[in-house]
């Protein structure tokens, strides 16, 4: 059984406008009377609750139907109702504990949500952001059967985002790969292995922090000379990319070497004890930018590494986040493709539970907040089309939502927050300008 798309409800965005119910009733019955809506939003004082079919994995309505009139569709996951078989016994409504299937007097039989064949009318009608149609399941269906090319039991911290990035990316890139992992969390958690065994199922090597891109260049050229099509991929931390590793990286990018360099940006040298890097943002606590009587965290801004790479006019440059997996996967596909023609660079943000100090269960939420507050922006670039935004920068959530989620910013004073806000604003303007410049150039 695959994974399925689903309608998600965020009650905090709902204001009880009933647009979803009107849209559903209209789509299903032609009458706007919300009594006919398959989705029922219930007001409870100032908050809103939901009764809607969950398209269960182990549906009790189906088990309770004596007439085989209900069945789960293998492809869509929707529990479909067959009116030609239904005998109106209502036993499905006894099985369902969610109010997902109900007798409708106008229709004269039970009715339930059918997800409108994958384009739900309720979601389209909700302009408050309370209803969304989650299609992320497609990723699982597409790549779920691909082999995980890292071994089980890597020794990452609990809730580590970097491990997720490693497993997801390599699974997609596939086994015809040589992997370079310079010192950092990626080899540190065991991917280069112990006692002569590697932690990967592809050839992996452990260059110096300084020479990752040049070693990979050599390897790629060697295979090319042999006539073999091999992906040469680096999974490097931000230190190994932005600071110590930068000159070899810059050289390989400028030469247009056909490699894919992935920077896993956790904003510091986390593996060695959480020291600052060139990518550590202003104000952040690290072990070398301590907080005390005088120190208040880092006093310089982070360098904008993906922009620097864009200025190399690489074949492909993009930023991505594990909170937006469909976007990440699409960019990965384009990066792999571009690396067959020239240099491809992918910058993936990787919140670090240990070094940033937040609960390990919240990693993806932190990643999401970083993007939704514009602290991190998602975009992509190629020399022909210029820079393109992957999601709009308008209406960001307040930056406090992001800063307050992280222990490394707990000490911030109002001026520091002001500085960060100003920096985010400046960065947004810069990226927006580049994106609009592209449009102007192409018009």
């Amino acid at each position: 059984m695959g994974a399925f798309n689903t309608i998600a409800f965020k009650p905090e965005h709902c204001d009880g406008c009933n647009a979803c119910m009107t849209a559903c009733a209209t789509a299903k019955t032609g009458s706007a009377d919300i009594i006919n809506s398959r989705i029922q939003v219930v007001a409870d004082g100032d908050t809103f609750e939901l009764a809607l079919c969950r398209q269960c994995g182990d549906p009790k309505c189906v088990a309770n139907c004596p007439a085989a009139a209900l069945a789960k569709d293998d492809a869509s996951g929707v529990i479909a109702w067959d009116g030609s078989k239904c005998v109106n016994c209502l036993l499905c409504t006894v099985g369902c504990a969610y109010g997902g299937i109900v007798y409708n007097a106008a229709a004269g039989h039970v009715v339930k949500c059918d997800s409108c064949g994958g384009d739900p009318a309720c979601v389209k009608a909700c302009d408050r952001g309370a209803l969304t149609y989650l299609t992320t399941a497609n990723i699982y269906n597409e790549v779920g059967d691909l082999e995980d090319l890292f071994v089980p039991g890597l020794a990452g911290c609990q809730g580590c985002n970097t491990e997720l990035i490693m497993r997801h990316t390599l699974r997609r890139i596939g086994p015809d790969t040589v992997l370079a992992t310079p010192p950092g969390c990626v080899p540190g958690m065991g991917s280069v292995g112990y006692n002569g065994l590697t932690g990967t199922k592809v050839p992996v090597f452990h260059p110096l922090l300084t020479n990752t891109a040049s070693m990979l260049t050599g390897i790629k050229r060697h295979y090319k000379r042999q006539g073999r099509e091999v992906n040469a991929v680096a999974l490097a931390g931000d230190g190994g990319t932005a600071d110590v590793g930068f000159q070899s990286l810059s050289g390989a990018a400028e030469r247009g070497e056909q490699i894919l360099f992935i920077c896993v940006d956790n904003e510091g040298y986390m593996n060695t004890g959480m020291q600052r890097s060139g990518c550590t943002p202003f104000g952040a606590w690290t072990s070398t930018t301590p907080v005390g009587e005088r120190g208040k965290g880092k006093t310089q801004d982070a360098k904008n590494l993906p922009l620097l790479m864009m200025m190399h006019n690489c074949e492909y440059v993009a930023t991505a986040s594990t909170a937006f997996m469909e976007d990440l996967y699409a960019k990965l596909d384009r990066a792999i493709d571009a690396s067959k023609r020239g240099f491809a660079y992918l910058h993936i943000y990787s919140p670090c539970t240990t070094g940033w100090r937040f609960p390990s269960a919240e990693n993806i939420e932190v990643a999401r907040k970083a993007v939704e507050t514009n602290f991190v922006m998602l975009w992509e670039f190629n020399p022909r089309d210029g820079l393109r935004l992957s999601r709009p920068l308008d209406e960001p959530r307040p930056i406090d939502e992001y800063l307050e989620a992280l222990g490394k910013y707990r000490h911030l004073e109002p001026e520091q927050v002001g500085h960060i806000e100003a920096t985010v604003r400046k960065n947004v303007e810069q990226i927006r300008g580049l994106a609009e410049g592209r449009r102007a150039a192409m018009a």
Binding site: D58, K60, A63, T93, V94, A97
Partner: protein
């Protein structure tokens, strides 16, 4: 001799739900399902519609051959289990074959009771529990002018409606003073009775059949109230009893049904029972009861299957709650819970509508409606969870559907 890790006897709701639960936990263990019906799995509940012609017999199968193949299940149909040697873990089939099993589920359901009425054995009559029964009734329908139904439970009432719709003059004889006495009180039953009366169905309530005899092609039925009824079709729907005859001498403890604990384990190692055949704890007191309804069979089957496969997520049987949905002449009656386990906090009835809510210590014990919308599954869960309704009591009594949905959305959605 055939060997199987799991042997499931029966192929209806309890059996299928157990099978699915086993396969969730154990993808490979060998499973054999045996049923005495020579048919693909079907539900007794759909049979009234097979009788009426609404459901074609070939379209009521709950699973097909491909499904059994996909789930790696050996499906033996048309063979009844006739004896059980629980110590040796072997079951004997009517075909003479024996099957050795590791774990056994008894899901043989129930069969119609024949009341000890003088002369009944000697007249032609119908019952309704199997697909065969239904097809026989369906065949008899066009030639039926006068039908007599013994019993005004769900089976009798469903049949009476369909016989009436087919144009027969129908009389229902019931010992109790009202129809569907197990699920509804007098006011609610009277709405249902009125609907039947309006369609010309005669209800002889509080009457007992004292004698049956053959009369022409049909039967003549005499009641203790003095009525004499001629029937070219006689249907006996006077209740059901668990099918346990094949357990004689097996050591499996049987009271009215197979006695089971909270994970549906019978008294003998390696044996479980679920559905209409099982006698399990009731919800309102601990006494073991028969609760012969489809949703209980589904739930018990799931618990039994999980327990048999060693699924660590298995949760104990919370106890049987009487519940039912009953559609009659296009109207809907819903009964969830017990009328007696608490006090009535709302009751209103008119000719077409009925609603009654019963609570104890601010907890719902039962809700009953006719043509009043609420979600029975949500109410059942509220009862099972013994949710304290004190903070929403007034709202619940005023608008049970909306308030229950709110509770659901907040508590378990």
């Amino acid at each position: 001799m055939q060997q199987t890790e799991y042997l499931i006897v029966g192929a209806s709701h309890a059996a299928l739900s157990a099978l699915q639960a086993i396969r969730m936990q154990d993808a490979e263990g060998s499973i054999t399902m045996v049923t005495r019906d020579d048919a693909l799995p079907y539900s007794p509940t759909v049979l009234p519609y097979v009788v009426s012609g609404r459901s074609a017999p070939e379209r009521v199968a709950l699973k097909d051959g491909a499904w059994f193949e996909q789930n790696k299940v050996g499906f033996i149909r048309g063979a009844a289990v006739t004896a059980l040697d629980a110590a040796a873990r072997r079951a004997k089939l009517s075909s003479g074959e024996e099957i050795a099993y590791g774990k056994l589920l008894l899901a043989t359901g129930a069969a119609p009771i024949l009341p000890p009425i003088p002369g009944l054995k000697d007249v032609k009559f119908h019952v309704l529990r199997t697909l065969d029964d239904a097809m026989k009734l369906n065949k008899a329908l066009p030639n039926t002018k006068q039908a007599v139904v013994l019993g005004a439970g769900l089976v009798g009432m469903h049949a009476a409606e369909n016989l009436a719709k087919a144009g027969a003059q129908v009389t229902v004889v019931e010992m109790q003073p009202r129809v569907l006495a197990g699920y509804f009180d007098a006011e609610a039953s009277s709405i249902i009775e009125a609907a039947f009366a309006a369609k010309g169905v005669e209800l002889l309530l509080g009457a007992k059949v004292s004698r049956c005899e053959t009369a022409g092609q049909g039967a003549r039925v005499t009641t203790d109230t003095g009525a004499v009824l001629d029937a070219d079709l006689l249907l006996v729907a006077a209740g059901v009893a668990p099918v346990t005859d094949y357990l004689a001498g097996s050591g499996v403890a049987v009271d009215r049904g197979v006695l089971v604990d909270d994970t549906m384990r019978a008294s003998v190692d390696g044996v479980w029972a679920a559905g209409d055949v099982a006698q399990a704890k009731g919800f309102y007191d601990e006494a073991k009861i028969l609760n012969g309804i489809l949703p209980s069979a589904v739930e018990q089957g799931k618990i039994a299957g999980m327990a048999m496969a060693g699924d660590p997520a298995v949760r104990p049987w919370p106890g049987g709650v009487p519940l039912n949905t009953y559609t009659f002449f296009g109207q809907q009656a819903v009964s969830v819970g017990s009328q007696e386990a608490g006090e009535t906090v709302r009751k209103e009835a008119d000719a077409k509508h009925y609603l009654k809510i019963v609570m104890k210590d601010n907890r719902l014990t039962g809700i009953f409606g006719i043509n009043v919308p609420f979600d029975p599954g949500v109410m059942w869960e509220i009862i099972l969870r013994r949710i304290d309704l004190s903070s929403v009591r007034e709202a619940f009594i005023k608008d049970p559907q909306k308030t229950a949905r709110t509770i659901m959305s907040k508590t378990w959605r």
